[in-house]
Amino acid sequence: MRLVMTAIALATFSVVLLGPGSTWLSRARWVHRAPRAGVLLWQGMGLGAILSGIGAGLALAATRYRAGFAGGTRQLVGSLFSNHPLRGLGLYDALGLTLAADLLIVLGVVLGVFMVRTVRRRARHRDLLDLVTYTAPQYPGTEFLADRRAIAYCLPGFRPRIVVSDGTRTLLDRNELWAVIHHERGHAHAHHGLVMLPMASLSSLFPWIPYARYAPESMGLLLEMAADDFSSRRSERRLLAAALVEMAANGWAPSCAFAAAGTGALERVSRLLKADPTSKSSAVLASVLGLAAVLVPVSAALLT
């Protein structure tokens, strides 16, 4: 009976993380003062929700062995590999096992397919860059695209690439351009593309789950802020803010992709102009919450 309670508690915890918890975090402004820890918090909540969901299923399936979570799970796994797998399973056991297996399979396969697709597209993008970009000796580690529209970006990968268009070179002065390059180096340095790799497809796949709806967007903004901080440690924050305004105001825009990105730019600019954009206590709070989200299901498994 105790394991059934554990299963219910873990399932509830998972729902809280994916639902109200995610909605709350997506509106929290204090994480902007500790963007890297904020990203960790989102990751911790995602991992905690997955672990709790799987744990709930396993706990339900292991109930009949009356040997606690660890013992029951071990016997369950043992029976799966015995001559008569799943013999004598009841309704609860079957339900729990199915839930746990489904979570694993759906997440694994679906995310895997999207990640492979993304990695392939990045590879083609990289191959194309190899053929058409040019370099400038005064901007080492940066490649230029001969296009008059203003854009700057970092292509993630084992060796991330920083790309700037001619339009950006004409729009910004030398120091502003350096602030932008430092920002992109921040993305490259911390491999932010890897962080976003499993996230990008979530919002289109599970739009009815608040976590999937909010996490990619929020994490994207937090990573931009983290890269802003990286740049701020190497060149003046005001230059980066000015570059951001120029780029956002004069960049070529596809007609459908406005609003969400725009608010992000405004938040980043006002953040950069603050006297002290980062805060230790916010970082500590976000890290502790993120750790707790993972530790709850782990300790539930260990203690029951």
Binding site: A152, L223, A242, A248, F258
Partner: protein, 121 residues
Amino acid sequence: MRRLGDLERRVMDVLWEAEAPPMSGRDVSDSLPDRAYTTVLTVLERLRHKDFVRRTTQGRVHYFEAADSRDAYVAELMIEAMGASANRRAVLARFAASVSPAEAQALRDALQLGSGEDHRS
């Protein structure tokens, strides 16, 4: 690795600047005198597998030409980078997305407020 990439680029440059495409492997190789004929052929085949080069055969001779112009490839990169395609965040991290004129004004106001003194128009 990087050296092969550089050679791919030079081969594409030859094909893009060709006066009378398509070119035979021998023609391409003649334009790159510091490289062996077989090396150039290998690179051409690699580029063909990546769909950057098209090959046609007349008699027993293979002819090569660029699948698309340099400008078309730059445009493809820009479109993907500008986020016209879905799934943008995963492909790359763009510095700043474009905003509407009203939002641009709000941004300029914020910058002016934050800096107090000087401002460029």
